[in-house]
Amino acid sequence: MKKKITMTVTDIRSLAEGVFSMKLRYPEGDMPKEVRPGQFAGLYTNDPSKLLPRPISICRWDPESGEMQFVFRAAGAGTASLAAQKTGDKVDMLGILGNGYDLEKLAGKRVLLLGGGIGIPPMVELAAALNGIPGSEVTAVMGYRDSNLFLTEELKKYGNLLIATEDGSIGTKGNVLDAVRENGVTADAVCACGPMPMLRAVKKFAREQGIPAYISLEERMACGVGACLGCVTKTVKEDGHSRVRNARICTEGPVFDAEEVEI
């Protein structure tokens, strides 16, 4: 059941230059029954000139405390205003949105998690979930611009962590796939979130390896609930809902089997 709920900020901090972590607590009784890694929520700013929720992926969910953590880059005025919130402030949230990663397909496998930049945060919840499934093995390869790392401590808790930086200051110089090749990482499946050029490369890599790749796509969104058809991606086959070769990223996605989308 999707809802628009007023959440309370319980923690807000900068993790790296321009990257913020915000924890939002659910009001009593409004908690979602299930949250899957890779799902997202729409966060509203308190600026009345901005109508649309910002789609932000869930970094961590703690059903015990009712706290949901979001890690985002303050890229524009909307996310900057979210970053300016303080503990105790209220933030309206539309959630929980999207399909998330299908853990059944990943259970018992050696799973390679690839995160690029602000595509890293959802990989933390995914790594944690996979770590809790017996027989599943997690190798996380995360790509950063430079030595301004974030979420590395969290990721290390749930599996092996390799790092790539564009400037070579830490780990492999280059992108996540450079790090995968340099370290000879092999896997049974890949899960990835990051910029489009990275996802295209991941699709090619998975094809070469003969393993499935589940990629999380991003697009400008309006409603977030599948009504407006703003955020579509081209699909290989006719989509069951739209009946054309377009699937809604907010509803059928954001996670797709790379072989099912044309990117």
């Binding site: 059941m1 999707k2 809802k3 628009k4 509203y44 000139s49 901005k50 109508l51 649309l52 929720p53 909307g78 539309l94 697009e219 400008r220 969104m221 309006a222 409603c223 977030g224 609930v225 599948g226 009504a227 407006c228 058809l229 703003g230 955020c231 579509v232 991606t233 809902h241 739209s242 009946r243 054309v244 070769r245 377009n246 509803t251």
Partner: protein, 309 residues
């Protein structure tokens, strides 16, 4: 307290071209899908009508992405009328809407006259209470915009649709014209049972860092509170020009906004882009309008229509 208990519940019903709506609040086409997605948030039984996303004779792919962009006080969209085509629409979307005690208004789109007529014909025996004809989408290149921007064409296509339509016909007008009153008169002359306005206003956003258009389609339709004063003005002008009922829309964000449209001359209203801001908004507008009537001791919502001259 005594005063409040003496008051009778105001009559919220309106009649548009012979169709009785339990209240004047509808959804604006394209902002509510076919109701399915928002039925998680709103009880569709409480709405005056659900106006569906535009449907054509065949499935349409729509425009490339990005299709939407946020702007100050509103948004731009250039979806390009992606839709699953009339067959799937009837089988799935109309079947879904039939379960609810609300009126169903099917928005019809096409590239050519023949395409519009084909959809209207297909809907003849279906559970649609009214048809809304989208002759005003700014994001579809072939045909559609000309129908809505040329009074002669508008009269002509209205007459042709009226000839075969079994349901009352609402012509949806574009604000991208010099004289909205002339366009409203043109629709009325063609036999339209009602007009709805405004559709989106053509706009553009440029990313100055990338030095490129934000929308893949370059231009898009502006909606949201930013356009409300223009919409209220146009509803008022149309109301002075025609006798047929007007369905007013454009940036409605509250019951107060809805009342404003009614006072300007609308007989019903539609909530559009602001559904994306608040998925519960349609219900809030219904409740708030009722409160307004109580507060002003007005017995029927119909008394609001055109009360400001």
């Amino acid at each position: 307290m005594r005063e409040a208990t003496c008051r009778v519940k105001p009559d919220m019903s309106v009649n548009i071209a012979g169709v009785e709506l339990k209240n004047p609040v509808m959804t604006a086409s394209g902002t509510f899908g076919s109701g399915m997605e928002y039925s998680e948030f709103v009880d569709l039984n409480h709405l005056g009508a659900v106006v569906t996303k535009g449907v054509a004779n065949k499935p349409w792919e729509g425009n490339p992405t990005p299709r939407v962009a946020e702007v100050y006080g509103g948004m731009l969209n250039a979806i390009g009328l992606q839709n699953p085509g009339i067959d799937v629409f009837i089988e799935r979307d109309l079947a879904f809407l039939k379960q609810f005690d609300t009126k169903v208004i099917v928005n019809v789109c096409g590239h050519t006259e023949e395409e519009y007529l084909e959809v209207v014909e297909r809907l003849a025996d279906e559970a649609a209470d009214m048809l809304e004809i989208n002759v005003s989408c700014p994001n579809v290149k072939q045909g559609a915009i000309q129908f809505g921007q040329d009074p002669k064409c508008l009269t002509d296509i209205t007459a042709k649709i009226k000839k075969i339509a079994r349901q009352p016909v609402i012509m949806k007008l574009t604000p991208n014209v010099t004289d909205i009153a002339e366009m409203a008169r043109a629709a009325e002359a063609g036999g339209a049972d009602a007009v709805s306005l405004i559709n989106t206003i053509t706009g553009m956003k440029i990313d100055i860092e990338k030095r490129s258009f934000v929308l893949a389609n370059k231009t898009g339709g502006l909606s949201g509170p930013a356009i409300k004063p223009v919409a209220v003005r146009m509803v008022w002008q149309a109301a002075q020009a025609v006798k047929i009922p007007i369905i007013g829309m454009g940036g409605i964000a509250s019951a107060e906004d809805a009342v404003e449209f009614m006072l300007a001359g609308a007989s019903a209203v539609a909530v559009g882009a602001m559904n994306f801001h608040d998925p519960y908004l349609t219900q809030k507008v219904v409740d708030g309008m009722e409160q307004y009537l109580l507060r002003h001791n007005i017995q029927t919502v119909r008394e609001l229509t055109g009360a400001v001259r």
